[in-house]
């Protein structure tokens, strides 16, 4: 199984800069690897650290977060709050023993399609070199918390 490891990347991107930048990469037909799955949020300020933990918990080998450049936030200051939050959160990850180097941050504006492609490919390569992220799943097993048992979803 290990011989051809393809990392799974969860990317949280803001609607106004990075999502639009990724759209631009598409309109410009800039080819990139197909390992990242984007989750759109209005602003990086909306990203709760729990999202990141949940993403790791659900099998992400790397998490990428990207928003507007500092000072260019569509909502004035959302990315400043997000940046402060991440600095603390990254330290916390290290403290509790999760490899924080699997968490990536970047600023990509709506006009930086090329930069977005470079960042995504760079993250995919880096995570591929690190290998699969098993730690969190193992930890989950140890403390025996059911991972994906979400309640309240009434289907049909």
């Amino acid at each position: 199984m290990e011989e051809k490891f393809e990392p799974k990347i969860a990317a949280f991107v803001c609607n106004w800069c990075t999502y639009t930048g990724a759209d631009l990469a598409g309109t410009s037909r800039l080819k990139q690897e197909a390992n990242a799955r984007l989750i759109r949020v209005p602003c990086t300020g909306r990203i709760d650290p729990v999202f990141i933990i949940k993403a790791f918990e659900n099998g992400a080998d790397g998490v990428l977060i990207s928003g507007c450049h500092p000072g260019d936030c569509h909502y004035n200051a959302g990315n400043f709050h997000a940046r402060r939050r991440w600095i603390l959160f990254k330290n916390l990850l290290d403290f509790i023993g999760i490899d924080s180097s699997r968490l990536y941050f970047s600023w990509v504006s709506a006009s930086e399609g090329k930069k977005w492609v470079d960042i995504v490919d760079g993250v995919i390569d880096a995570v591929r070199a690190k290998g699969p992220f098993k730690q969190y799943k193992k930890m989950n097993k140890e403390i025996e918390i059911p991972v994906a048992a979400e309640e309240g979803v009434s289907v049909k």
Binding site: K8, A10, Y19, T20, A22, D23, A25, G26, T27, R29, L30, K31, Q32, E33, A34, R37, L38, I39, R40, V41, P42, C43, G45, R46, I47, D48, P49, F51, K54, A55, N58, G59, A60, D72, H74, Y75, N76, A77, G78, H81, A82, R85, V117, V147, A148, E150, G152, V153, S154, V155, K156
Partner: protein, 668 residues
């Protein structure tokens, strides 16, 4: 919940790299999906009908469309679903084109990714709620920042349509750069003659409130409901008493210390002054930095001669607040300055042209003042150093424009035209004079523009030399201009009496600060950024804020006027409706769990969080909780991520919606 899935091929755009029938098949097996199909063009009429038909036949509760970016067609599909009876917010878009088919080549990988993206959207839509658009009232008043020709045009258009306008101008008078010009291209009609009637119209218009010598300090609110704080700088003159007789300026003992801004430093003005005789409003201001009274506490000459007792040395800056529905930014441009001390300047180039060092090297606006009948020479063509008539004059174009190494890479657009005009004006006044123009290319696109340049060359015999000037130095009272004629391939030396530099148009220095106040974007040069370069040229990314004139990019007068009218029209579109509709993506507080810590209030950039008291039936205060002002909330969700008790949620991007997507990641 019954979900319908629709996969669009977008012709070949998605279909080429994503196996759409397979995606549709895979989606059919997702829990909750009762209908799944693919079609060549989902956004077309037949495509939309497929969706509507499925909604009616299978009684769908929610719809997921795999198509292009939601920024492209989300509205289209929402509208289609709404017409078939589903709430438009029960529709989710999976971006299979920009984020999948266009950026990948391997069909297997792309198809797998497409299925994942569809799964995300299906899981998310299960937690969507039906929402209604929010309606907010519109304040039918406009603020225009900048009283140049563009701002004047915008203000007059809106006022003539019957709505109130607040016009803010930072200088003592409106008129802008156009009031400084002598004649205008390509008709050579007098600038002041066409401008000053407009200025007076602004002053006398019952719907226009003119705030001169004022600056925008602070802006809050949103489209249709802005609250603007304006600083009214102290004029030291009581506007309501002053009659504009001008006696104070006449008697002011300081005549030589201050350089006239209006004459671009070619003449002096007193400490108490009106910028020019036709100023609107015709009320002087005291320049406190040179006034003897403010420096030594003595003099008071103006106060003594003023029969109306309008002089008030104790006046302070005051602040006024105005409620407006739209804001038009028309702050204009300034000229690239190449001073004698380049180390003081952020622009280090062109010391070799000697601007500021040699009195007879001037810029375009200074030449306008020399040529103007209201200028320091009363329209006589006299050079600044010794007030003699220059017999040989050299114009140099593209100083600072189209020059990445020393200036800016953009073309300032108007210099080719005004240089031709300058050369013509010179030849009309000095019949035996010789005029030379050093140019890179002649760019004269515009109605009657090329004909105008040809007239300068053919009728007025202006010598156009294609090439750059390398150096200018003074010798025996003459300016030696050394350059190259690149067509002849020969060096050129001209002994000139006067040199005019067509310096670049640049953004106002305070533009980035104003952009931050208004929350609009600006480019690397400091010019304000439009919402779309082709289709939304006068709008900005902030709703209700529009652009006019040279604050957007170099513009000539007709274009500035057109933009002013366009921005006015955009404001009037806004004022056409009594209520504005906006997306219901805003935060909402659950008062039962809110503990009243108000962390949300601290992170909110819009001051949208208010305090709300919860009382029991007897009126006893139970607790104080957060409350979202739906008019101010813009829906960034920072409060949602900050709330320790998860009591504030961003509708449309709620935690369970995002967690549903993240949980779907487990099956990637």
């Amino acid at each position: 919940m019954k979900i319908g899935v629709f996969v669009c091929h977008c012709g070949e755009n998605i279909g080429r790299t994503v196996n759409c029938p397979e995606v549709s098949k895979a989606c059919a097996s997702f829990p909750g999906v009762v209908h799944s199909e693919d079609y060549k063009y989902m956004c077309s009429d037949p495509g939309q009908n497929l969706i509507k038909q499925a909604i009616r036949e299978k009684h769908l509760d929610a719809v997921v469309v795999g198509s292009c970016s939601p920024h492209m067609h989300e509205k289209t599909f929402r509208k289609a679903c709404a017409s078939a009876g589903i709430n438009s917010y029960m529709v989710e878009i999976a971006n299979l084109r920009e984020h999948c088919s266009w950026i990948h080549e391997d069909i297997n990988q792309a198809t797998k990714k497409a299925i994942d993206l569809m799964r995300f959207a299906v899981e998310r839509v299960k937690f969507n709620q039906p929402l209604e658009t929010i309606k907010v009232p519109v304040t039918k008043r406009s603020l225009v920042i900048g009283g140049g020709i563009s701002g004047i045009q915008a203000a007059l258009d809106i006022a003539n349509a019957g709505f109130e306008v607040v016009l803010v101008e930072k200088e003592p008078s409106i008129g802008g750069h156009m009031s400084q010009l002598s004649e205008t291209f390509p008709t050579l009609d007098c600038s002041q003659c066409i401008l000053t009637p407009r200025m007076v119209e602004v002053y006398q218009h019952p719907k226009i409130k003119l705030l001169s010598y004022s600056e925008v300090e602070h802006v809050e609110g949103f489209i249709g409901n802005f609250k603007v704080t304006i600083r009214r700088k102290a004029k030291s003159v009581k506007e309501e008493l002053c009659t504009g007789c001008g006696l104070c300026a006449e008697k002011c003992p300081i005549k030589k210390k201050a350089l006239s801004e209006f004459d671009e430093g070619l003449s002096n003005r007193p400490a108490i002054y009106v910028p020019f005789p036709q100023a609107v409003p015709n009320v002087p201001v005291i320049d406190r930095s040179v006034c003897t009274y403010f420096k030594t506490g003595k003099c008071e000459m103006c106060k003594k001669v003023c029969g109306r007792e309008a002089i008030d040395f104790t006046q302070q800056d005051t602040f006024v607040t105005e409620d407006v529905g739209s804001i038009i930014v028309a702050t204009g441009y300034k000229l690239y300055s190449i001073d004698k001390k380049p180390e003081d300047s952020i622009y280090k180039g062109y010391g070799e042209y000697g601007y500021g060092k040699f009195k007879n090297v001037i810029n375009g606006l200074q030449f306008e003042r020399i040529a103007s009948a209201s200028g320091p020479t009363s329209g006589e063509m006299l050079r600044p150093s010794d007030k003699t008539v220059p017999k040989k004059i050299v114009f140099i174009q593209c100083v600072g424009s189209r020059d990445e190494s020393k200036g800016f890479s953009y073309c300032s657009k108007i210099c080719c035209m005004y240089t031709a005009k300058h050369a013509m004006l010179y030849k009309h006044k000095v019949h035996d004079g010789e005029a030379y123009v050093f140019y890179m290319d002649i760019r004269s696109g515009g109605k009657n523009y090329e004909e105008f340049v040809r007239r300068a060359i053919e009728e007025d015999h202006v010598n156009y030399i294609r090439g750059r000037v390398s150096r200018i130095y003074e010798e025996d009272g003459k300016l030696i201009v050394k350059g190259e004629d690149t067509i002849a391939g020969l060096p050129v030396v001209i002994e000139a009496d006067l040199v005019v530099l067509a310096t670049a148009m640049i953004a106002q220095q305070e533009a980035p600060k104003l952009a931050q106040t208004l929350n609009i974007s600006y480019d690397k040069y400091g010019y304000f950024q439009e919402a779309h370069p082709k289709l939304r040229p006068v709008e900005t990314n902030t709703g209700g804020v529009f652009l006019a004139g040279a604050c957007h990019s170099p513009r000539d007068i007709p274009e500035s006027v057109a933009m002013g009218s366009a921005a006015a029209a955009k404001s009037l579109v806004l004022f056409g409706a009594d209520m504005l509709e906006r997306e219901p993506i805003i935060a909402k507080v659950d008062a039962t769990t809110c503990a009243g810590c108000f962390y949300c209030q601290k992170v909110c950039a819009y001051n949208a969080i208010e305090k709300k008291e919860i009382r029991d039936r007897l009126g006893n205060l139970q607790k104080v909780v957060a409350f979202v002002n739906s008019g101010l909330c813009q829906g960034c969700g920072t409060c949602n991520a900050t709330c320790p008790s998860k009591s504030i949620e961003l509708i449309g991007f709620k935690d369970d919606q995002i967690f549903a997507q993240i949980n779907a990641f487990a099956e990637v």
